[in-house]
């Protein structure tokens, strides 16, 4: 087997010279690394690239919707742009973002382990992600796909003119990257915990990523078989979804949404984990109802597999299954409500500080709650008949994905930035960016709730003139949001070169990852930590903590 290939880290001597970043500077040491921290940094770079590709597509979509007849002038281009925005954002940013960057970096640190269970599989997962991304981008830039990210049949199998097969193969490959990551996390959390780290002493972030990995591992294979069936039907012009020979297009929707609803929980569960770490750290207080939050995450992971039918209330499914999926959809909303109340409970009687991660976490609570309650609207059967396939649904899932998940991702990124890079980011700029992002986001997506009620359908290149004012408002908000996203890119890169050197624990937070230097040595811990108490044992601030700005 491979003992640590990095010669410079001498464990027994107790003195580590340099961190995982200074542990080899050749391209080969990065591209063939099995160190979970380096793989996390590689993923961070890839994720950022895909985020901005998807963001540009979104900006063009909003640009087009400024005038009722469509500014871009061609419905073809618009259809391929919103499909590109959907495909790139869902599979190459939202689903992977937190698990592969923060998850890869922090899970071994939080577990007190030296690396994940299968380091080589972890590197293979990154190469699968890059290969899948390359094939998908090739499909999108060679002409794109005109089916939307949902690939509904028979449009995707028989009538679409786009590169459906190429895009499906790209997503198929990227899917296996998710499976590999999920498998690695589940086995590591089970098998590599530090001595004394029982399940109830683990931070909530690990529970959330465990629940996420259950979703990754058990839902993504169904997407793989679905895309394979679509590809085969498109190549051979005959398949199980073809209604002309007795096939059922609704079978595709069932298989697709069996993956895609757990996928939206894959996006938000890590957000729950990150916020559950930030709120106690910046309220200097033990998390409220640890067991409830933890089992809420696990129950979301299980129940999220029962609810996919609520995407098909008007699709022509049977009345019985529609009613069944509606009651199950209400059940899955309960754990999310529990979490929000527990975060508020954590802040109660805390000593709250308003650093950038906390601003993102507070923004998350507010925006995710709006996203969550609008979920109740589309779970009610009769209301969904009116609201589905309109901009109400677009606003609902953007509030949860962008308002919730992206805020949590930025919050987590700022919270652990010092641990990942060993540098402190400029606090003032970070708070400004957080506020602009909050304002820009609300201006972009709140008008869409009203547009949805008024009946403006999704995915329309041109729309009825009476919807124009709200669309212009939304597009204006989008420009502010785009600017707000460029700010962190700027000052975080700046902090890599000129940021202050970070101490091991700048926030005075609890958790094993803060007990090792930042950036940590390749073997993570000089001395494998012994865990004797639960997480979030925050002493009241009178005892103070070393933190300097």
């Amino acid at each position: 087997m491979n003992s640590p290939t990095m010669a410079s880290t001498v464990v027994e001597a107790g003195q580590i010279d340099g961190s995982y970043l200074t542990d080899g500077f050749t391209i080969r040491s990065w591209l063939l690394t099995t160190d979970h921290k380096r793989i996390a940094v590689l993923y961070l770079a890839s994720i950022t690239m895909f985020f901005f590709i998807g963001g540009i597509a979104a900006a063009l979509v909003r640009l087009n919707l400024i005038v009722p007849e469509g500014l871009l002038g061609s419905a073809e281009a618009y259809n391929r742009l919103f499909t590109m925005h959907g495909v790139v954002m869902v599979w190459f940013f939202l689903v992977p973002a937190v698990p592969v960057t923060l998850g890869n970096f922090l899970i071994p640190l939080m577990l007190g382990a030296r690396d994940l269970a299968f380091p080589r599989l972890n590197l293979f997962s990154w190469y699968l992600f890059i290969l899948g991304g390359a094939v998908t981008l090739w499909a999108l830039f060679a002409g794109g796909v005109d089916t939307g990210w949902t690939f509904y049949t028979p449009l995707s199998t028989t009538y679409s003119k786009g590169h459906v097969v190429l895009a499906a193969v790209g997503i198929f490959i990227a899917g296996f990257s998710s499976i590999a990551t999920g498998l690695n996390f589940i086995v590591s959390i089970h098998r590599l915990r530090a001595p004394g780290l029982t399940w109830y002493r683990m931070p909530v972030f690990l529970w959330s990523l465990y629940s996420l990995s259950v979703l990754l591992v058990l839902a993504t294979p169904v997407l793989a078989i679905t895309l394979l069936l679509v590809v085969l039907e498109r190549i051979f012009h005959i398949g199980v979804f073809d209604p002309a020979i007795g096939g059922d297009p609704l079978l595709f929707q069932h298989l697709f949404w069996f993956y895609s609803h757990p996928a939206v929980y894959m996006m938000i569960l890590p957000g729950f984990g990150v916020v559950s770490e930030i709120i106690p750290a910046f309220s200097r207080k033990r998390i409220f109802g640890y067991k409830f939050i933890v089992w809420a995450s696990v129950s979301i992971a299980v129940i999220s597999f029962f609810v996919w039918g609520h995407h098909m209330f008007v699709a022509g499914t049977s009345l019985y299954s529609a009613v069944l999926f509606s009651i199950l959809s209400y059940l899955v909303a309960v754990p999310s409500a529990i979490k929000v109340f527990n975060w508020l409970g954590t802040m109660h009687k805390g000593y709250i500080r308003f650093d950038a991660p906390m601003l993102y976490a507070l923004g998350f609570i507010g925006l995710f709650t709006i996203g969550g309650v609008t979920g109740l609207w589309v779970a009610a059967l009769a209301a969904d008949v009116h609201l589905t396939q309109t901009y109400f649904v677009v606003a609902h899932f953007h509030y949860i994905m962008v308002g919730g998940m992206v805020s949590a991702f930025f919050g987590g990124l700022h919270f652990w930035w010092s641990k990942i890079t060993g540098r402190m980011y400029p606090e003032m700029w970070a708070r400004v960016a957080a506020l602009i992002m909050f304002i820009g986001f609300n201006l972009t997506f709140f008008p869409q709730f009203i547009l949805g009620y008024l009946g403006m359908p999704r995915r329309y290149f041109s729309y009825a003139p009476e919807f124009q004012v709200l669309n212009v408002l939304s597009s204006a908000g989008a420009t502010i949001l785009a600017a707000a996203y460029l700010l962190p890119l700027a000052y975080l890169v700046w902090s890599l070169l000129y940021g202050e050197y970070a101490p091991a624990n700048p926030w005075g937070a609890t958790g094993l990852e803060w007990q090792t230097p930042s950036p940590p040595p390749t073997v993570n811990f000089i001395q494998t930590p012994l865990v004797t108490q639960g997480p979030y044992a925050y002493p009241p601030p009178e005892t103070g903590r070393e933190r300097h700005v």
Partner: protein
């Protein structure tokens, strides 16, 4: 340096050193495997026979029951479900449960779709 706090690790099948014991152990194993193989062949025969029973078309899937038993036999006997860490059994159970969810909730729609679509026209 490692703190010997007990963690979930069961003893691997200790192969004692002297060859006589090893020979003994292997033959016991081989007999167990042979019995499992025989059970599989019997179940296969049963499945083959059951398929010729005149079952009504919607009841035909009952032919799968011996097949499922064969799957359980292979999992327990050849894949040693009962040995190894608890995790192994947890993953096997999880796979079956999620498959059940996919197949049951997935087929709830087609099995119940036609009844409600017939308009209640007064029959003479």
């Amino acid at each position: 340096m490692w703190h010997p706090i007990a963690r979930l690790r069961s003893r691997p099948g200790g192969a004692s050193d002297d060859p006589q014991d090893q020979e003994q152990a292997v033959h016991a194993q081989l007999n167990r495997l042979l019995r499992a193989w025989l059970l599989l062949v019997l179940l296969g025969g049963a499945e083959f026979a059951v398929s010729f029973l005149p079952l009504a078309r919607p009841l035909r899937p009952l032919v799968m029951i011996p097949g499922v038993l064969m799957v359980v036999t292979v999992t327990v006997a050849f894949m040693e479900l009962r040995r190894g860490p608890v995790l192994v059994r947890a993953f096997a159970v999880a796979a079956m449960l999620w498959l059940l969810v996919l197949l049951s909730l997935g087929s709830a729609d087609p099995l119940t779709r036609t009844e409600f679509h017939v308009p209640n026209v007064q029959v003479k």
